[in-house]
């Protein structure tokens, strides 16, 4: 059982990483949201698996929260947002996509190497998950750097949160419940605030291109 579940978690981790890469390369915002939703689903599945394996009750709750928040609520909010705001494409990126992907691969290697000694320490079923979690955090970070529109940037941010959550649940079998609740609450509130922001930015700048937001600087 645990053997298979370990393999399952590893598989889910691989899918998560793949999704992160896909998000890094995706230009359409709508697809980006879908990918994000898929990532949430993977996260939910992996959490549930871990819960199953370890029998920790609160991880089911975590899985549920993930499901509600990241698979249903946030994608729904994002969908509404882009419909209302009418943004579909994120045309320009800081580097072109192939370069970004190359950097991404380097990052993954780096993360794996960093996590190698940690993974060896881990006695859990999910040896390599720390490396993958770190890699997906880094990839999301890279995505935030390269995107020039507000919405993809926020999706990057949320994806980073996903990576973290994955690290928390899979690598360590879940943080204490209070903390997870707190984190979830923060993510939710943050999203709401971001939503408010989008409208305000739109109102002020007539666009969600964050390159308008470059007025405050030293010259």
């Amino acid at each position: 059982m645990s053997h298979y579940s370990g393999q399952l978690i590893n598989l889910l981790a691989a899918v998560l990483l793949l999704l992160s890469f896909a998000m890094l390369g995706q230009r359409r915002i709508l697809s980006l949201i879908n990918l994000f939703m898929a990532q949430g689903a993977v996260l939910c599945a992996s959490t549930a698996t871990v819960a199953l394996v370890t029998g920790q009750k609160h991880l089911y709750w975590s899985a549920l929260i993930t499901l509600v928040l990241k698979v249903l609520l946030l994608p729904w909010i994002l969908h509404r947002l882009i419909r209302r705001l009418n943004v579909k494409w994120d045309i320009e990126t800081l580097f072109n996509i192939p370069t970004t992907m190359l950097i991404g691969i380097v990052l993954v290697i780096f993360s794996f190497n960093l996590a190698l000694p940690i993974s060896e320490l881990a006695g859990t079923v999910s040896r390599s998950t720390v490396g993958i979690a770190m890699a997906s955090v880094m990839l999301s970070f890279l995505m935030m750097i390269t995107r020039s529109k507000a919405v993809p940037q926020v999706i990057g941010f949320l994806a980073m949160e996903n990576g973290l959550f994955f690290a928390a649940t899979s690598a360590t079998y879940g943080m204490p419940m209070v903390v997870e609740l707190g984190i979830a609450l923060d993510v939710l509130v943050g999203m709401v605030i971001l939503g408010v922001f989008f409208f305000q930015i739109r109102e002020q700048f007539d666009s969600l291109d964050i390159r308008h937001l470059e007025q405050l600087k030293e010259d």
Binding site: L114, V130, M160, L164, A167, M175, F197
Partner: protein, 482 residues
């Protein structure tokens, strides 16, 4: 009991003001709740002084020498800021910069912010610490964008994204920390409780801890405003309402640094090397030097003092990085006096900018003529922050610099240059603002200068005489930090 009041009053205040924040007396309510918090914090402080460190609520909360004075300080600055914001926000409202709804948001979020600060300070759980820090970002983001101008939106957006990303790194660090502790402390029983971690820090896995500390340092360091993670800080300080700048500089940075220090204690214990100290010294020194050079090109007064905050946080980080009883003592003292002084400066700056109707320094002239109290307040505050004795900032800089000369002499030329450049920049700009001629008429509103002079008096006191029990805390805490 008083402990829960410390957390309860601001939370209650936040809720009450969310409903009543638009009324005419909202500012008074705000001050009232802050006062209650202050009283509760004082009582708590006395309690701790008499009974020593205490845990509350199944060890979820910890009040020890390291944070008790920060609790008191936070409550104090919160209270004085609420006093200051009363006339300040009223004028902003009168001038039509803020609607009633925004005032409600402001008052409510102010109290919520205080709550998050108190929570972050008192919690024993590293996870909750993270949650509180993130919540602090969220509350202040709304405060920074309060004016809804393009600039304030931009500042808030940057603040949100940069701090959000930063704090995400801190979460990863926390997870790694948990990962390391879990094996020792078991899955259920408080592997994230700092007091437990501290007890077993010697046997935490060094490899994991080194990675965890890097993530935590980068994460919370972003909130401290360490260069090169500082970019959100000047924008947020300059564009938010002045009371918010005051609490950002005076409280948020301190609390973030407090988080870093908590982590450093663990990392030091685990790593058996000075790696954490070296990293902090490096960040501190870079921050001091870069911020000092930033200062000289500033045009906006709040932005300038924001950079000055970066500089001072750099000094404190450097001090904690050096470690040792004297340097840590100096660092703690510096946190205290910087927070008091910087908020006093922001109060004075707030009045000054309201009087002149601009934040551009070249248009602010002759404050001493416009309003002697504001002028002298700004002048003395500036001198204090620049490390002029007999103010307390000098006392801490004295300890830090002399210890640096002893322990890390290579760093002193940088500090010397940075302090010189910072002095030249800030003083060169403040002097003509305070002195000289002004043709502006006096404002009808009486400035709330009590907070300014109260803070400055405290800073002066700390420069000449540190009360023995306060000194005792500092020393205990310094021993603690190592």
């Amino acid at each position: 009991m008083e402990f829960f009041l410390v957390l309860g009053f601001p939370l209650l205040g936040g809720m009450v003001l969310a409903l009543t924040g638009h009324t005419r007396r909202a500012a008074e309510y705000n001050a009232f709740f802050s006062l209650c918090t202050l009283i509760a914090a004082s009582v708590l402080t006395l309690h701790i002084v008499n009974h020593g460190p205490q845990m509350f609520f199944e060890e979820q909360f910890l009040v020890d020498p390291l944070n008790v004075f920060l609790v008191a300080l936070t409550a104090l600055v919160g209270f004085t800021t609420s006093l200051f914001s009363r006339p300040y926000m009223r004028i902003e409202h009168d001038r039509g910069h803020l609607s009633v709804g925004r005032l409600r948001l402001y008052h409510s979020m102010f109290q919520m912010f205080m709550f998050t600060m108190m929570l972050a300070l008192t919690t024993n759980n590293m996870g909750i610490l993270w949650v509180a820090m993130e919540a602090a970002t969220l509350t202040t983001v709304l405060l920074v964008s309060l004016y809804r101008t393009t600039a304030s939106l931009e500042a808030a957006w940057k603040y949100f994204i940069l701090c959000g990303v930063g704090i995400a790194q801190a979460l990863f660090g926390t997870i790694l920390l948990y990962f390391a502790a879990e094996k020792l402390l078991g899955h259920e029983g408080g592997a994230l409780l700092w007091s437990h971690l501290n007890a077993v820090k010697g046997s935490l896995e060094p490899t994991v801890m080194s990675l965890a500390f890097v993530f935590l340092l980068v994460g919370y360091g972003t909130k401290v405003g360490l260069v090169p993670l500082h970019n959100w800080l000047p924008d947020a300080h300059a564009e938010g309402p002045t009371p918010v700048s005051a609490v950002l500089s005076g409280l948020l940075l301190n609390v973030a640094l407090y988080a870093v220090v908590r982590c450093k204690v663990l990392a030091d214990g685990a790593l058996h090397s000075n790696l954490a100290g070296l990293l902090m010294m490096g960040f501190g020194l870079v921050s001091v030097v870069v911020a000092a050079f930033f200062l000289s090109r500033q045009k906006d007064i709040k932005r300038m003092f924001a950079y000055s905050s970066i500089e001072h946080m750099g000094i404190v980080t450097f001090a904690f990085g050096m470690g040792g009883p004297v340097a840590s003592f100096g660092g703690l003292l510096h946190m205290t006096v910087h927070s008091l002084t910087k908020s006093a400066i922001f109060f004075a700056v707030g009045h000054a900018t309201q009087k002149s109707g601009t934040q551009l320094m070249e248009h602010i002239r002759g404050l001493i003529k416009l309003s002697p109290t504001v002028g002298w307040g700004l002048m003395l505050g500036t001198l204090a922050i620049l490390g002029m004795p007999p103010f307390g900032v000098f006392a801490s800089e004295f300890l830090i610099l002399t210890t640096a000369m002893k322990q890390q002499p290579w760093a002193t030329p940088f500090l010397l240059i940075a302090l010189g450049v910072a002095f030249a920049a800030i003083f060169g700009k403040v002097q003509p603002m305070v002195f000289g001629e002004s043709s502006l008429p006096r404002l009808p509103h009486k400035p709330a200068m009590l907070p300014v002079f109260l803070h400055l008096a405290l800073v002066l006191l700390l420069g000449l005489w540190i009360p023995p029990y306060l000194a005792g805390w500092y020393q205990q805490a310094a021993r603690f930090i190592g």
